[in-house]
Symmetry: C2
Subunit: 388 residues, 2 copies
């Protein structure tokens, strides 16, 4: 297998972007990434695009072909593949793009992710998102994602003494980081009190414990590491790209205080990259709900299982902490256009490793990690990126 | 890149399968393929599953994770990836599975495809399928797939003198082949008169010029060629796996008498396999409508452009012809559960190359080709398989 590097990144602003269609978002992210990589469209050998439920959000499947038409690359007839793994669609697109380059069949591969979620009527987005859970045995009986993650939160609180205030502190931190990110959906700083006073969605998760419904797209350009320097002075090596699965249903899961797929992916990723969790300088993790970030930093080995709430309270994951987590604002504040999220995480890590993250730059960041989850943990993808 | 072989195949019957759910179809095809390969579930390193619009047909996205749960493989945490490229979802899953093995990262990869289309109310299936066309500029204005392919048929008839009778002969041939395939949806033999007397769907396409709405699933097990003999006495080599794209929209296409993506994929596939079209002993092509088979055999170089209708009339593609096409019955008679089709084509070619195709066996078949198309030609995948 060949080593693979990221040579370009690009993304749109995330948010309620009424004035841009799905295809305009895809085009904008793609063009930015291509320009960042300094390549011509003709150099592209393959495309991947992550999208969760384009069929239901915008009535359009077959968005691999759409991306080629949008990019004006139809005369090249290059392969373009849509992949879908619920909210991990972007991370899975990254893994498949990585494999495509690593295989030796393709050199320059553009990986994108996109979702246009705000064009459906109120409530319908939550119903569409529930198609990432087990439709027959969960969603059909009324379970939604806030409900499923609330169950995990209750269990974590019960087992480890995690508090509502600690959950809220995840949101407070990520909104602070979001206030430093021009592309974030929410740039407003909030307090623990704001979170606790916000409406209850699914006990114990308040509105401000939940990531939003968003529009947006992100892209990254991959190349074999051996030729990456031809394109950029700052190629970022993909030291590990691991995709894992678990049961679709939460009730089928072996444990509820962890996502075993994420633990598995992290373990293999650390082995592949030959690093320890403490070597990670900056991480983007899948904080679809505040409890998800607490479970994530435990699953990734940044802290012991059960200590995620306490560690958050003590500032371990703050911008000036030992392992800054979700410097972009995370899904919580940057926004969560589900298909785009995994690729947007890669965008943030690359910015940090290049030293281009502006006000939210982590000092001397050399190793970064991205953790992307689908559903209640049915899919998990972990990438480790390194400055070379 | 490593060479890749097919070491096992399996599929369900295709048709209106009211008594089996999506997950039961997935399980059945997967188990059959695994048993055919003689492997244990624990040996599987990765899964791919093609599904076009599971979100709309059955309200379920994230079917990669579902496939793992259905297979009882959750404790392995192996990656499972859903890919979608409209009616080419199965072919694209094959290409991605091929890349996964070729890369060296995964050894045993199971590729599946599935669709459960008959559980939606009348007419809705056609609307869902239209999401494979350009929703904003085609489907929104009322274009459906019968309409889009009817436009191609009219143009082909106008330009090359192709007749309605020649179109009908494709259906007659494929229904005959289907009558020899126990898994086919339609086993009834029909006449040219039957086709011409069947209701007009979109001039010039009658009902019997169209493939049906179907339920079904298919799977194949891939392995590195170098270890394939460990598993089977009859490994089938994948000599070429090429995926290509074109515009999503038909109106954006450079020509209407061909699918340029299919022509491109075929050209690269012949080069990679180092063969000529005349070397192909048996082919499964994407006959979603009768005109599509005529265009396909031209695009694949079996006949000159414009001669597909005449060649069909003369029996070139019949079971006892020079290049038997759609020996399985094709999409037309075997059925067309869209996500499964590309993998079902591989099933048929492998059966033929192993000499296990029963009454529809092509004598001394050593090289087979599968041609899978998404939408009106926005995606095309060509596989060439060989006896070794």
């Amino acid at each position: 297998m060949r080593d693979v590097a990221v040579i370009g990144i690009g993304m749109t602003e995330f948010g309620e972007i009424w004035e841009k269609s799905f295809r305009e978002l895809v085009a904008e992210a793609g063009i930015k990434a291509i320009m960042d990589a300094g390549i011509e469209g003709e150099e592209i050998d393959a495309l991947y695009i992550g999208g969760m439920s384009t069929g239901r959000f915008i009535g359009q499947e077959h968005v691999g072909s759409l991306a080629v038409e949008v990019a004006g690359l139809e005369d090249l007839h290059i392969p373009s593949t849509r992949v879908e793994a619920a909210c991990a669609s972007g991370g899975v697109a990254m893994h498949q793009g990585y494999l495509a380059v690593a295989s030796g069949m393709y050199d320059i591969v553009v990986v994108g992710g996109a979702e246009k979620m705000t064009d459906v009527v109120g409530g319908e987005a939550t119903n569409i998102l529930a198609s990432a859970a087990d439709r027959e045995w969960e969603a059909f009986f009324g379970a939604t994602f806030p409900g499923l993650y609330a169950l995990m939160a209750k269990y974590h609180m019960h087992k480890y003494g995690t508090t509502q205030e600690q959950l809220a502190m995840v949101a407070v931190k990520n909104h602070y980081n979001g206030s430093l990110n021009p592309k974030a959906q929410f740039k407003r700083r909030i307090s623990v009190e704001d979170v606790l006073k916000s409406p209850m969605v699914a006990d114990p998760l308040h509105l401000l414990d939940c990531s939003p419904i968003s529009d947006g797209a992100a892209a990254a350009v991959l190349a074999p590491l051996e030729i990456a320097k031809k394109y950029t002075d700052k190629p970022i090596k993909i030291s590990a790209s691991i995709q894992a699965t678990d049961t679709l249903s939460l009730h089928g899961r072996k444990r509820f205080d962890a996502l075993p797929a994420a633990q598995h992916a992290a373990k293999l990723a650390y082995e592949k990259a030959d690093i320890k969790p403490k070597d990670v300088d900056v991480a983007e993790v899948h904080d679809c709900f505040t409890i998800a970030e607490i479970i994530a930093i435990e699953d990734l080995g940044f802290v012991e299982k059960g200590k995620g709430g306490k560690a958050t309270e003590e500032g371990l994951t703050a911008l000036d902490g030992e392992i800054p987590v979700n410097t972009s604002g995370g899904l919580k504040a940057k926004g969560h256009p589900v298909g785009a999220t995994g690729v947007a995480q890669i965008n943030e890590i690359v910015l940090q490793l290049r030293g281009e993250a502006g006000e939210r730059q982590v000092k001397e960041a050399e190793i970064g990690l991205a953790h992307n989850v689908g559903g209640s943990g049915g899919t998990a993808v972990v990438h480790i990126l390194e400055v070379i």
